[in-house]
Symmetry: C2
Subunit: 282 residues, 2 copies
Amino acid sequence: MNTVAIFGVGLIGGSFALALRKAGFSGRIVGVSEPEIVARAIELKVIDEGASPQNAAESADLIYLSEPILRIAEMLPELNEWARPGALITDAGSTKSTIVERARASITRCQFVGGHPLAGSERRGVEAAQADLFAERPYVLTPLSENQMKTAAAAWLFEWIQRIGAYPIVLSAERHDQVVAYTSHLPQLASTALAAMLDHRTEPVFGVFGPALIDSTRLALSSYHMWGDILATNRVAIQDALRAYIAKLEEFSRSLDASHMSEEFAQAARFASQIRGPSENP
Amino acid sequence: MNTVAIFGVGLIGGSFALALRKAGFSGRIVGVSEPEIVARAIELKVIDEGASPQNAAESADLIYLSEPILRIAEMLPELNEWARPGALITDAGSTKSTIVERARASITRCQFVGGHPLAGSERRGVEAAQADLFAERPYVLTPLSENQMKTAAAAWLFEWIQRIGAYPIVLSAERHDQVVAYTSHLPQLASTALAAMLDHRTEPVFGVFGPALIDSTRLALSSYHMWGDILATNRVAIQDALRAYIAKLEEFSRSLDASHMSEEFAQAARFASQIRGPSENP
């Protein structure tokens, strides 16, 4: 692999470029974005140079798509025309079924493996890019078939995901989308729902809250920018997760007594502790 | 005011003592706790000395009760026997109606003003006490009647709450409990419900989550220790808050389309931004 083309040099695309470089990638990194973003990304040494979508796709061994989900799906037929036969296209979209379905129908001249780095930041754009964004984080890969991970290009991608410090996990697109509906989309909607509901209630004594409310509404600060595509492409799984959450809240509402709630608190604390590293457990 | 007696020298009681001292209080601070906690609190210069409950109550101008809610309510009749006629009893319980009702029935020989500092930490105990725990935080006072805030002792308390950097807010106990059901108890139960629900689902691909799940389950780490009394003494208001939250989640589940959700995200982000200081807005 000599040339990597990053389509969409923002937080994720820019961080992937910086991470590759830090991990020792010595090839060329080309960026495809608005001219002023390309200029800034060159200045920040995130990419080596800018290129048009066609030129970038024609010269790249790895095409890395870090654009909104529906835009990624839309680009695939054209990229298939431009890409070199040995090239690998991957993406960083937060849902995978829609993109993988489109790839299955349109990628015929090269290879496609979907991807989703479970990393992020409240900040956006190339200015927020950082080489260690993916370190110690899971990085899901969704190949079109299991055999596909055995090709040289897919093995290269898998290996570099490990080199940048992430944990590659191979899953079907459908399974990925079901899991993140619970672990990512539901937490976002739970926070958005809490903040939106409280905003409706114009409490006169509104200063009366503690650190818990600040914590619980941090995700509610997220812009709708990236969530529109997520909600549109994972509706059924998200509704399933919302139903499970509502059922648990209804159970709490019916039974707030000590024997029930002490067990629920213990179970919740055990779960919250399990998903944390030692440094994140108080 | 020459002598302050802190009943329960833990995070809140210890921090109140440290905050008074830092703000220039030059009187005596007596602590009532288990012997080893008293010893540690003296060592950490949180209190000047320990005393039995009766000796502390008999000598104090201000009696500060930072014990569990039901324990506070239970102590009031006895404290009324012991306390000096000019003394003021206040407390730091997280719900106020039960305590204020009990005070109304049992405090006849001195004065009582309920309190709730909206401050906290994931850590507990006197070791975690810090002089600036209440700084920039609301501190609710719930007098038995509005006139009561005009007495010298109540004015003294109000003034020292300001001196330690907190914002005193005077509310009825009932109004306080309704508001914190939404701003504090609901966020806690929303996080506990999320973590408990996810723990029930034994997902085989469990590593697949990002920073959002860590954020959303931070409150779920809370121990049930202090929540049992809160749930027992604010049941109706908490059920009301749970119902409002469930209704909003059901609305999301029915209508995940862009026109609806973009407005909900905008409203939620506006609210989340409003409750933050400039330093907490990304």
